[in-house]
Amino acid sequence: MLKNRIIPCLDVKNGRVVKGINFVELKDAGDPVEQAKIYSEGGADEICFLDITASNENRETIIDIVRKTAKECFVPLTVGGGVRTIQNITDLLLAGADKVSINTAAVKDVSFVKEASKKFGSQCIVVAIDAKKVSDNKWEVFTHGGRNKTGIDAIEFAKQVETNGAGEILLTSMDRDGTKSGYDVKLLKVITDSTNIPVIASGGVGTLDHLYDGIVKGGASAVLAASIFHYGEYKIKEAKEYLNSKNVSVRL
């Protein structure tokens, strides 16, 4: 039976791990390579790096981190942030990433997803959707770390990226991100119901119950969290044991 994945996410800025509260006010908390290794040895099912400064700054830093991490971590490694061109993807994959996550570039032109999945295979193309609630049962896609409104309906966009060959969707609720009040389960549910590819839940985890909700109530195939693991509130193993005790199948 396929297990639900727990994915710690490391937000990286200037080569250091940070985690923002609603993407602002960043705290510095460690070396990404070391962190990734600790997570991998602690049972993480996958590691995710999000380069939150990649949009404007030198990309070599993250590529170097990926290269070093990939030599020590033998679980899948996903890298996102500033992925705009086929060359960006090639560079990350050559450095040792297993998947790349595309956000703004996919919103700008969904055919980029098609081009990328055709060239590299759907298995390594994740589309990150940042969604914000605009009314009851309606969410809109935002870009640039939640700063830019696009007017695009999140549900429609999710279907579109699936059609264009995305292998997975990384769905972040901009309303919940950094709040520790739990995933936007309603958003998750509507996206997992309207698509046939795996959805990774993101944004808002504060307790282990939130992970449970994301999987059981939201229908997510994987749950991503940063701060609860990062500041040592919970270990990956504890999260897995907790989920297992509630009959959620995980890799122990």
Partner: protein, 208 residues
């Protein structure tokens, strides 16, 4: 000993290189090449594969003499070869991803899309799943039944002769996830991404 990872521009092979290098610990020479002379003189071959069945077969065929060299190595000379993911799928006679495409024909069978029961199961089949060992295999030494391995695929290899199946995994149906036929080994999952157990499989292959 020389282990060659065949680099035929089939997508991302960095993880395969990293994990084999990790296991080799400098004692085994790991070559990454499509050079036919080097392939001929190596002791073992790893055939990775990412992307579609068709794109992988096309890439293999685009390198002059590569398919014949691999065939001579694995079929005529019976030296150990490990196919990973689409690398395994290409052992089949035919694949149906993108378009009907002729495979290498080393193990009779076909590669078809996983039946996801009308959307009841998500595709690709991504993540960690347990393998059920069906027969003893040299690459499963010290691997416990129901070990977790990492999968990413939407297509499955269906061999004609079930005797070649060394492990299956349970998803929308029982999916063949490892085969062994004489000196030919294949895994649908990615040992290079399957943590300690995956590295063990790689070590087992290197020790054959």
């Amino acid at each position: 000993m020389n282990v060659t990872i065949v680099d035929y521009q089939s997508g991302n092979i960095s993880s395969v290189i990293n994990s084999f290098t990790e296991v080799a610990k400098g004692k085994v020479n790991i070559e990454v090449t499509s050079d036919i002379k080097k392939i001929k003189s190596s002791d073992k071959i790893v055939l990775p594969g990412q992307g579609s069945f068709k794109s992988c077969v096309d890439s293999l065929n685009s390198i002059n003499g590569l398919v014949d060299t691999l065939k001579e190595f694995a079929i005529a000379n019976k030296k150990p070869l490990l196919g990973i993911c689409v690398g395994l799928q290409m052992f089949a006679d035919v694949g149906y991803e993108e378009a009907e495409t002729k495979g290498l024909g080393w193990i009779s069978g076909k590669v078809s899309k996983i039946d996801n029961q009308k959307g009841k199961f998500k595709l690709p089949h991504i993540g960690w799943n347990e393998i059920e060992i069906q027969k003893e295999s040299k690459i499963f030494k010290y691997i416990k039944n129901k070990s977790h391995m990492y999968f990413v695929h939407s297509y499955e290899f269906i061999p004609e002769d079930i005797a070649v199946i060394s492990a299956t995994t349970d998803y929308s149906s029982k999916i063949v996830c490892a085969v062994e036929k004489d000196n030919l080994f294949g895994t649908q999952f990615h040992p290079e991404k399957s943590d300690k157990m995956g590295l063990k499989i790689i070590e087992n292959f290197m020790k054959i």
